[in-house]
């Protein structure tokens, strides 16, 4: 069972706990961005099969879902655009221009994740 054994913090520690989770989320999302970069590089050099495209789409989906929750709204929007692009790539021939566009989106994701989150 994956019911995570997260101890319940007292309410006054909520901000601290969320901040710690946000830091973990940022690290996880940086890894996801790196995984997407590697997938795009492989797509350009040797191509990807349908399963690889689907995996990349799912990674972009998770990035979109979690980044915005932790103060990276722009990353969420960029990742959603990337997710749509990757979904199309999985079912049709991928043009070099589309890979370039995906790469540019990923550059922007990297720039945004390098900044401090907006947790206001």
């Amino acid at each position: 069972m994956s019911n995570s054994q997260v101890p319940v913090p007292p309410p006054e520690r909520m901000a601290t706990v969320l901040s710690a989770i946000a830091a973990q989320a940022r690290r996880t999302n940086l890894v996801r961005a790196a995984e997407l970069r590697a997938a795009l590089d492989r797509a350009a050099s040797e191509g990807l099969d349908a399963a690889d495209w689907a995996a990349a789409e799912r990674t972009a989906h998770q990035l979109a879902g979690s980044a915005g929750t932790f103060g990276y709204a722009a990353v969420s929007e960029l990742a959603r655009s990337l997710e749509r692009l990757l979904a199309q790539a999985g079912v049709a021939e991928v043009e070099p221009a589309e890979l370039e566009r995906a790469g540019a989106l990923l550059d922007q994701v990297g720039d945004e994740l390098a900044a401090e989150p907006d947790l206001a």
Partner: protein, 145 residues
């Protein structure tokens, strides 16, 4: 009156404390971070008991045993997605009436997806604010303050 409130007389004086179990929420998402933040937020802010599941299969097993008051269900998951998981819950007599709230980063859902889940009580869009999540679930589930 809330499940957690005291019973009062007409003049507002408490007469007895009603000891009730906290609400139970099952959070289903394949993203570790989302499960963790939702669990913490709902336990601390909502004061509820929260179980988590990483997949639709695990969710259906857990829901049959734990009988949650609501299932917060990610739409896009590998293998069994949210709508398919909701259908699985619906097919089991033990979980058929459990309210479902979809959690999705992909909007909007199609009418077919929404209509296929009779006990769907709402949709929460990712990203969400952890501090507002409990209030949003309470509102969608129709739970009293």
């Amino acid at each position: 009156m809330s499940r957690d409130d005291a019973t009062t007389t007409g003049d507002g004086q408490p007469t007895e404390m009603v000891k009730v179990k906290p609400r139970k929420v099952l959070v289903v998402d394949d993203d570790d971070i989302i499960r963790e933040v939702a669990k913490v937020a709902l336990e601390v802010v909502g004061g509820w008991h929260v179980d988590t599941a990483v997949s639709g299969d695990e969710a259906s097993r857990l829901a049959a045993v734990d009988q949650p008051d609501v299932v917060l269900l990610d739409v896009m998951m590998p293998a069994l997605d949210g709508p398919s998981t909701a259908a699985l819950l619906r097919a089991d007599p033990l979980t058929r009436d459990v309210p479902v709230i979809f959690l999705t980063a992909k909007t909007p859902l199609t009418d077919d997806q929404l209509e296929a889940v009779p006990n769907l009580v709402g949709v929460i869009t990712k990203p969400f604010d952890p501090m507002d999540l409990a209030a949003e679930i309470r509102r969608l589930a129709g739970w009293e303050e």
